[in-house]
């Protein structure tokens, strides 16, 4: 984990400015989604977009992107999230699965229909559709 973070840091340092821009992506054509909805999806309050079953994907716990996502999109601290998921456990809901890296997240999103995750803007390719954007200011 540490190893990866270092690489990411380097990456961040040597990559142009809009490296701090992220997007929530899916692999199916979809209209943009409100932040509220994104939050609902990632907090597993809602599991569908329309009729489509959604599989929310997190990056690994230590990931800075994830941290940014949680801070900027979910508006929840780690602690809040932890207590939230504990409560959800009582209510019968499991947290989203997580992927180790962006690459795997991308692969997953591409391979799994209904997967939704978040990546850096520059890592987006043609097969992904952005449903939400945020940046790390």
């Amino acid at each position: 984990m540490l190893h990866f973070s270092k690489i990411l840091l380097l990456f961040i340092l040597f990559v142009p400015l809009y490296a701090k821009e992220y997007a929530v992506v899916v692999s199916f054509k979809s209209a943009p989604i409100t932040q509220n909805k994104i939050k609902a999806l990632f907090l597993k309050k809602s599991s569908f977009i329309g009729e489509k079953k959604i599989v929310p994907l997190n990056l690994a716990l230590g990931s800075s992107i994830r941290k940014s996502f949680e801070r900027k999109v979910l508006h929840m601290s780690l602690r809040s999230l932890q207590s939230y998921w504990t409560r959800e456990h009582y209510l019968g809901v499991r947290p989203p699965i997580s992927m180790q890296s962006q690459k795997s997240m991308q692969a997953f999103i591409k391979n799994v229909s209904g997967a939704i995750g978040y990546v850096r803007m520059e890592n987006i390719d043609s097969e992904m559709y952005i449903v939400y954007k945020w940046s790390d200011e």
Partner: protein, 685 residues
């Protein structure tokens, strides 16, 4: 022979029994081992092999099942979702690698995605290759080219409907080698009877057909089992060299032999020693009893040296000895008593027997009995009493018993029958003595009467006869009688002579028979007597024209201690008989001896006697009916008298004849004689 010996010795019996009992188990065991253990050992080996095979097969099964469980567990991990991202982060690969490493052995784990591409794998070389799982498999495994493949579907953690791929575990069956033993005498292998064979390559003659079986071949004991679950139709075979299995048995047999020999010796020694000590008390007892038997010392007691049966025996023996001793003592006492009684009886008898008259007899008897019975009031009573011994004497004429008297002794008072009999015997003795005395008196009286009669008679009879003879002789001497008258007178004379002879002979016989004939024995020269007798009768023989000889065997004089008168009478009688009964021929008198006796034989060539008539002649008054009887005048008493006289002189007269007309020989025999040279052959009785 040996059996006889054993029969005689308790010790040997014990020994033999001991040995037998001790060796019997050995023998049985030995035989058992020899004959039965082989199969048992083989069976045991089979059982052991079964156990092992079971254990191994279950181990294999467990191992494969646990591998499968691991597989299922891995497949259930959320981490497997990464496969959907093609395991770009290699999280799954790393996990599989670690797991494969942990499991050890030759195992590969890999994940095949829905496109049949190996996306994650513990083995780098497999990555990105395509892998096709055989379609339509009922179970979650299959075997391919010596590899067992376990697989399971992986589902997405967020959506159990979605198949992520398959997790496959590749298990090289060579890993099973760890379960197989390879030693020199133990062989094991796994085979599927087709292309797979793992383990020992030894050729085993076994066809694998059943689920589970054992086979005994010439060299091996084989056990096999069909493995199940993952390894269907695979057989696990275990074999043990027979020699190894039986080696134990052979070793054991050798061991047994050594032990047996050793054991035998031990047992023998022990038996010898122990049997000896067992039998020793018996021997001691035997010796002691033999001692007692020899020494007749029944007052001894044996030492009781133990408390077992032998001790009991010794005690009983002692008791018996004591009883015997006591009995003997009692017997002795009784014996003495009996003896005493006997002696008393004899003494009494002795005393009584010397008595000469009835009164004396009774007196002596009473006295003796007083002493014996210690009853000093014993009396002789003339009347019968209820308590007394009645004495009877015999009446010889009437031949019955007369009551004589009683002794006042109650026989019934004696409890002991022997005592009763004793006193009854005494009474009998007394009665006998009384009878004897009476008899003696009677006989004496009779004898005296007889003697008186004989002497009177001889005198009374002879006197008239002599007168008759004298008178007749006087008459004969008359010149004036006619021949006829002379004949008549001669007849009277001869008759009177005859009568006189008869009277003499009768009186002689009577004398001899009543024992009144006195025998005066002196040394008599037999030859002289014989000669004198010969001389006396010669005229008679000459008259008849017979050759009359007297022969003496040896030129010696025979001396005989005898009565001269009687002897002469005998000789004269015999000679006269010989001459009488011989018409013509000879009469020979011989005097000879043989070893024991002196023989005077008077032989004639007379009328002879038939054999059957010889005996008759010796009876009184018998003459043989003979036509020529008239010729022979005689009283008929001659031979009888001669014989009787001979008997008086310790001799005998016998007649011999070859038959009628063959002549007769009268033999006078004396057993005791002396020759003149004083060599007596026999001592005079």
């Amino acid at each position: 022979m040996f059996i006889e010996k054993i029969k005689k010795s308790l010790r040997l019996k014990l020994l033999v029994n001991f040995l037998f009992v001790s060796l019997f188990p050995f023998a049985i065991l030995f035989l058992y081992v020899l004959f039965f253990t082989q199969t048992k050992i083989v069976d045991k080996s089979i059982i052991e092999q079964y156990k092992r095979i079971e254990s191994v097969s279950s181990q294999i099964d467990t191992q494969l099942h646990s591998l499968q469980k691991e597989l299922f567990f891995l497949a259930s991990l959320d981490l497997m979702d990464d496969i959907l991202a093609e395991d770009i982060d290699k999280r799954v690969t790393r996990l599989l690698a670690k797991k494969a490493n942990d499991l050890g052995e030759k195992i590969d784990l890999f994940v095949v995605d829905t496109q049949q591409k190996i996306v994650a794998s513990s083995e780098d070389s497999l990555l990105n290759h395509s892998f096709k799982l055989p379609v339509q498999l009922k179970n979650n495994f299959y075997i391919q080219k010596g590899t067992l493949l376990l697989f399971t579907k992986i589902y997405a953690s967020f959506n159990k409907e979605k198949t992520v791929g398959h997790l496959i575990l590749q298990y090289d069956l060579k890993n099973l080698d760890t379960y197989l033993i390879h030693t020199q005498s133990r062989h094991s292998y796994i085979t599927n009877c087709a292309d797979f064979h793992l383990g020992d390559r030894t050729k085993l003659a076994v066809s694998l057909e059943k689920q589970k079986a054992d086979v005994i071949t010439k060299e091996h004991v084989i056990v096999y089992k069909k493995l199940g679950s993952f390894l269907k139709n695979y057989y696990l075979v275990y074999a043990v060299d027979k020699s190894l299995a039986l080696k134990f048995m052979y070793d054991f047999i050798y061991f047994m032999v050594y032990i047996s020999v050793f054991g035998l010796l031990m047992i023998l020694l022990l038996a010898l020693r122990y049997s000896k000590s067992l039998v020793l008390p018996i021997e001691k007892l035997t010796n002691a009893t033999q001692e007692i038997g020899k020494s007749h010392n029944y007052s001894q007691t044996l030492v009781v040296s133990s408390m077992d049966e032998i001790g009991v025996l010794t005690s009983s023996f002692n008791a018996m000895l004591h009883t015997t001793s006591q009995t003997l003592q009692t017997l002795e006492v009784e014996n003495r008593l009996r003896l005493q009684r006997f002696i008393q009886l004899i003494e009494l008898f002795n005393s009584i027997i010397q008595t000469k008259d009835e009164t004396e007899c009774i007196e002596v008897a009473i006295e003796e009995m007083k002493t014996i019975t210690q009853k000093h009031d014993l009396k002789f009573l003339k009347q019968k009493t209820p308590e007394g011994i009645d004495l009877y004497v015999s009446d010889f004429e009437k031949n019955e018993k007369i009551y004589f008297g009683s002794i006042s002794l109650s026989v019934e008072g004696f409890s002991d029958t022997n005592e009763e009999r004793f006193y009854t015997s005494i009474a009998n003795m007394i009665m006998l003595q009384l009878d004897k005395i009476r008899l003696i008196h009677r006989t004496t009286a009779a004898s005296n009467a007889k003697s008186a009669f004989i002497s009177t008679m001889s005198h009374e009879l002879r006197t008239p006869l002599n007168a008759i003879i004298g008178a007749s002789q006087f008459l004969i001497s008359y010149e004036n009688i006619s021949d006829e008258q002379q004949d008549t007178v001669a007849n009277i004379e001869s008759s009177a002579h005859y009568l006189l002879n008869m009277i003499n002979e009768i009186l002689d016989i009577a004398k001899i028979e009543s024992g009144k004939m006195e025998v005066h024995k002196t040394e008599v020269n037999l030859s002289e007597i014989a000669q004198s007798s010969y001389n006396m009768l010669q005229p008679l023989a000459e008259d008849k024209g017979l050759a009359f000889e007297f022969l003496q065997e040896k030129e010696q004089d025979f001396s005989l201690f005898t009565d001269m008168k009687i002897l002469q009478q005998i000789l004269i009688n015999l000679l006269s008989n010989a001459i009488k009964f011989t018409q013509k021929g000879f009469v020979k008198m011989e005097l000879h001896t043989d070893a024991e006796k002196l023989i005077i034989s008077i032989s004639d060539s007379g009328i002879g006697i038939a054999q059957e008539d010889i005996a008759l002649l010796f009876h009184e008054f018998s003459q043989l009916e003979n036509p020529m009887q008239k010729k022979y005048k005689g009283t008929g008493l001659g031979l009888s008298l001669s014989r009787k006289m001979a008997h008086l002189l310790d001799g005998d007269v016998t007649l011999h004849s070859d038959g009628l007309g063959q002549g007769t020989t009268a033999i006078l025999t004396f057993f005791c004689y002396t020759t003149k040279d004083n060599t007596s052959e026999f001592v005079n009785v």
